[in-house]
Amino acid sequence: MISQTQSPIIEIAARGLAPVIQLLGIYVFFHGHYGPGGGFQGGVLLAAGVLLLRLGIGASHSQAQVTSKSTVALCALGAFIFAGTGLVAILWGGDFMDYAYLPVQWLEAADLRYYGILFVEIGITIAVMTGLIAIYDDLLGIGNAGNN
């Protein structure tokens, strides 16, 4: 799993399938307002695409999308987007996570909540995607110095 595999079938299948899975993940994420889906499911699908690449073509060749070094920081960034939305609401006078107080004047409260939900789900997607990849990398020891 660490080095590139010998079999071309697996590599071609992984290379071909991973973008489709990730496209599906992005679709699920954006369709979360209207049907089953949302940040978490989309994030897991995006992570599944990357994990398929990690399994199929080897860890060192699949660093292009998400590097092992940056996963923890990106996961923190995703969670921080979520928390930051709430803190902005506090700064503009509302309660924590009250999207109606987000500083966008030309939208009414209901629409503001619509976009607030979308914004928060971006954070969830980033955090879940990179988080699952980070756990996988740690389990295999990919991020360790000297094994990379």
Partner: protein, 125 residues
Amino acid sequence: MLEIIEGYYAYFFLMLLFVIGLYAMMMKRNLMKKIMGMSMIQSAAILFWILSAFKEGATVPILDRAISLDNPDLYLNPLPHTLMLTAIVVAVVTLGVSIALAVAIYQNYNTLDERELLARMEEEK
């Protein structure tokens, strides 16, 4: 009798699953099997919540223009579904952490069997 079975069979199965999971966590020697038992009791609790949201004859909690909102009995209760999304994430992450600890144990002691582990820890002392 059939009514009781129809109304309560799901609860009974879930309780059975809960006990099976607890059995695995208490009695199985292999750490991986313990982790599997853990994921079983987690899904038993999660299914229990989902069951509490179920209403006979109601539709999924996504707005349908054809169904009026005035009568909430026509939609399933969205609250337990939401909570269980959170609980599933918690379950997965706990599973990941437990697997990480199992890998760390294997790196230190080269076994996953609880008895061998105890024997090796005694040797070390």
